[in-house]
Symmetry: C2
Subunit: 639 residues, 2 copies
């Protein structure tokens, strides 16, 4: 046995069994009350040759298993470098898998649906280009990994409570169908630096013969610690618009001037000629504020408000942003006043350009600036290769940073929505100001080179298993040429399905992503977005098959209002649902926003029909869904 | 020509010549007025094949040359990765060299004196062990590099104004005697990441046929920019004692408890049993404060005052210190009150354990804690391998950090003395709160495994060329067994030479390093330390030969008082000096602290004689110096 390996020659010291059964209330969520019920087995091992102790703790739930490694305080193991972790998931066959390429830096790949045995041949095409990417194996995949066996068992593999540890990918042996953990390396190729006593994250397996059970499982949240914060009253779900999509489509720019080389603190922006294409100017922001205020949208995000965007991209620039200096045409004080007068919050943007040390150096000033100017939510971003060089987005060193940003934010009562960060692992239970992340291929890619029409029928089974996704839905004008004539991409979705996403892509921070003028042309459809909630008492999965369709029903927190959403893949389908989740003693008025019969995400996306019907708990519905379509239903008790 | 090389195929675009002649006053220094007089040649080049522009700026002084590379703003070069810099110093022969092994992480080697051709064979023995070290070549050496040619020319090679660039070592080709720059790599093996417009540091060559001219050259300072700070009134040279040597010798400990594994924020120190050996306890600190107050020493450093020392060393621990939480037996408030009541400042200690991100995370709180508690000076340390992993003490990324710590400190009017940091390059002109560094093998090594008796006859020609060294002199009890019976090392110096070091090892922060009880036995000798200044109007080198002896005379700023110091190598010698630097119109009373005739650093270090004589500018002195000895003279105008 080589020196330092801790995976063999153990003796069993002891085992302890226990049961835990508790119900807890999340600060926000898909449900308002969660039962945490498991049987636990603690296995205490000692390595014969070295005396090193290792515990493995198993928690068995009705819908799955979590286990983790624990390195107890002991004389023979204190500080150690983790070279690798060899947890194996031995699958029973060549399952169907919904996978993205294993990578240390990005999750922004289209999901591939294939058998495990096909991963190797499909990998090359799956690895589309990204400004920061590092694949590691021709059969490497990320988690959450969604699987379906031949005999219809749904299996989801992931991790929970990723704290101070390297993030997990999986490496498939495609002869044995064994998946082995493959952690993200640091700049020296090691997987972590640990000090006993400490624990690994939980490795999780959620299992059911019903796809919907995967979606509603609370196993990952339950394996995380209860919230650390004494006071959580400042944490509030919201919808938000954004001076953003107009830049993503290329209609306007984040940058202010047409130069390609600036030095913060040196470049005098007041002397630069504005390009005239800068999106985040005071007047434009006010337009969004006006629309938000008029339509009950609580907040407006503004990207490109701060100096440095002229040369931020792709250079791994160190001092790239300072997070506090606005462009000459962005009036911080005036917009603070204006937004407050309209009852709208502004959402801050901290694109870090992955210059992580730079962000940490400025973080305190940046958060104080937010607090001083009425911002209580920040969308952060980590586009590009990480600085310090050699580290990866998912290495222990950077995993540590993301949580540092969240806990520091909590000192200022700031909520965080992190883009390009490490996959979520239920940490929002412990740190409920971590509202959402992107950490997957979101709506923005529709403006770059498209998302498949079944994309959102998969993401809840994969990306969202660890936590909410800021998917930024709500694009009504799916033909992007209408926004920017030079951009010939299109959103692979009908308008009706865009409404459904507010129900099917759960997030406490839900973006209303399109331009006001694109909503103004469809205010009848927009009514659904006005009304849909962002925080829930209860959630049901009415229908679900990964890659095909999902239909959710959710009850708005503290109300008797329900919202239903269906997202559909590229096939026209009929959705068959019942309303037995409704209160049998009540009658309801429902508004259904659905694809017209001739709707199609490619050829006729904006063909939708709105109708109102009366519902009871005995009602049924057979509803047509177009290719790349779906429907949304708002359900209010009759007066 | 390989893509990306910028060292060949240039055309000369233009040259510009100019002259500069200005006198400036440093905030503190060896002299109060410095003339900056050079002829400058700016050479503007363009690479034929790529169009890239490169300037080389030369500044020729009477005593040497500085040149640097400038990457002007240009279309063909914006962001680039520096793979290597190939500046060559083509020496004319097999010079005598005073060198330490080239290394990316430590300067704490004994200087080796040899011909260049002998470096290769002597390298193995020269590379003594250090907790953080990375040699790179069997003929690699550090700078400042001191050389002496066969025909008596003294040559010193170094760099000035090291800002946002990787630190320089030199790699010797020992057949051609060409030294080529060898920069410190980052975690990916590159030497830097730059954005044009930017400049390299100055590469410097100081030359004279008089050794003393090397010591008094102001070339390095002159190549640095004038001070950035508007107000420098808060920057004050001082002497300081320290609760430090008792831990270095092993008499007491930095740590509070006898455990070897702590977690900050988790470990409850109030529940740990104190070992009884903790040096930084309130009563002990008060002893030092009392002695300092009674003897005109302005400050007391305390190391080991803060939690975390039990397991700080050698683990590359991330969250190792928080810089604000004292041990249970160190009363911050009481010591603040006590020191203030005695007119003594306390000097803060920030040992970072090279956990650089951790230091930056806590830096603001740490500096605010200092400001709130009356500390205006901090000694920082970078013991151990750098975190983030893969970086080196002298890489661009970490060079950037040291200066960040200094500029951040200036916001709090804090002065900095950095240990284990990158070699100094005259930055104290621009940032005069960078008072000193260790950045070489200091007095502490006498307690580990000794410094050669000629060590301090070399350091001013090497280490101190870039700036002051916190050499921590003043050890009276050179037999360390008398301090800690288990430590059998000894200080390779006579007591008289320890006094001389206050003159020969220039620093605006001068430590009075021994224990009070060791001074109390020799208060007659201690009188010199009481009186010696730490800031100077003028400095003369009366005698000097690297590796043999140096005699300095310095005039205390704003007074007519002079101090003379002589440091001597392992040979008994007679020093021959005149006093023609004195005011010819005055008479002076001098006190000479010298080795007794039978003194010897090994066998009889504490044999010294004190005598008083009357001096004028016409006086001469022939003074015996013992092996490893020297003398100190205080000279005051007669009343």
């Amino acid at each position: 046995m080589e020196e330092g390996s801790l995976n063999t020659e153990f003796v069993l010291l002891d085992t302890k069994e226990s049961t835990f059964d508790e119900t807890w209330k999340p600060v926000w969520g898909e449900v308002s009350s969660i039962r945490n019920h498991y049987n636990e087995l603690l296995v205490q091992l000692q390595q014969k040759t070295t005396g090193k102790k290792l515990n493995i703790r198993f928690r068995l739930f009705n819908d799955g298993l979590g286990f983790r490694y624990e390195f107890p305080e002991q004389p023979n193991l204190k500080y150690f470098v983790l070279k690798q972790e060899d947890t194996e998931f031995a699958l029973t066959g060549d399952h169907k898998a919904f996978w993205i390429p294993g990578d240390f830096d990005t999750e922004e790949y289209r999901t591939v649906t294939s058998k495990l045995s096909e991963i190797r041949q499909k990998m090359k095409d799956a690895v589309t280009s990204n400004v920061s990417q590092t694949t590691f194996s021709p059969t490497g995949v990320q988690t959450p990994l969604m699987l379906k066996s031949q005999d219809g068992l749904y299996i989801n593999i992931h991790e929970a409570a990723l704290v101070n540890y390297s993030a997990m990918n999986l490496n498939l042996d495609d002869r044995s169908f064994i998946l082995t953990t493959f952690l993200t390396p640091d700049a020296q190729g090691n997987k972590g630096r640990l000090q006993a006593p400490c624990d690994s994250p939980w490795r999780t397996i959620i299992v059911s013969d019903k796809a919907g059970d995967i979606l509603t499982s609370k196993l990952i949240l339950n394996l995380n610690d209860p919230t650390r914060y004494q006071d959580t009253s400042w944490i509030k779900p919201t919808k938000f618009m954004g001076v953003w999509w107009e830049m993503i489509t290329g209609k306007s720019t984040w940058s202010y001037a047409d130069v390609d080389n600036v030095q913060l603190g040196v470049t005098d922006y007041s002397k630069l000629a504005p390009s005239g294409k800068h999106g985040a100017n005071t007047a434009n922001v006010k337009r969004y504020i006006d629309f938000a205020a008029a339509n009950g949208i609580g907040a407006v995000l503004v990207e490109g408000w701060n100096v440095g965007w002229e040369d931020w991209f792709g250079h791994q620039k160190d001092f790239v942003f300072d997070f506090v200096t606005p462009y000459p045409d962005f009036d911080v004080q005036e917009l603070r006043r204006y937004a407050a007068s309209k009852g709208v919050k502004l959402v801050m943007h901290h694109e870090t350009s992955s210059s992580v040390r730079n962000y940490e150096r400025h973080m305190d000033a940046a958060y104080r600036f937010m607090a001083a100017n009425g911002y209580d939510t920040v969308k952060s971003g980590y586009v590009g290769n990480i600085l310090p060089v050699g580290e990866h987005h998912y290495s222990q060193w950077i995993v540590n940073h993301y949580l540092y940003a969240v806990t520091q934010a909590s000192n200022y009562h700031i909520m965080v929505d992190a883009h390009e960060a490490v996959h979520m692992t239920g940490l929002s239970r412990t740190y409920p100001n971590l509202m959402a992340e992107e950490a997957a291929r979101g709506t923005e890619y529709e403006a770059f080179d498209g998302n498949p029409p079944d994309h959102t029928t998969i993401l809840p089974f994969t990306r969202l298993i660890g936590g909410p996704m800021d998917y930024t839905p709500g694009i009504f004008e799916t033909q992007i040429e209408k926004v920017n004539p030079r951009n010939h991409n299109y959103v692979h979705s009908t308008l009706a399905r865009q409404l459904a996403l507010y129900v099917t892509m759960y997030s406490p921070l839900e973006m209303v992503a399109d331009l006001p003028e694109n909503y103004e042309r469809h205010m009848d459809a927009f009514q659904f977005i006005r009304e849909v909630a962002v925080d829930w008492d209860d959630t049901k999965v009415l229908e679900g098959e990964p890659g095909d369709y999902i239909t959710y029903a959710r009850k708005a927190k503290g109300t008797d209002n329900w919202f239903v959403g269906r997202t559909n893949d590229e096939e026209a389908r009929i959705s068959h649902i019942t309303f037995d989740f409704l209160d049998p003693s009540k009658a309801y008025l429902a508004t259904i926003y659905a694809d017209a019969p001739n709707a199609d995400y490619k050829t006729n996306p904006q063909a939708y029909l709105i109708r109102k019907i009366r519902l009871t708990s005995k009602s049924k519905l057979d509803q047509y869904c177009a290719p790349g379509g779906g429907y949304a239903i708002s359900i209010f008790p009759e007066k």
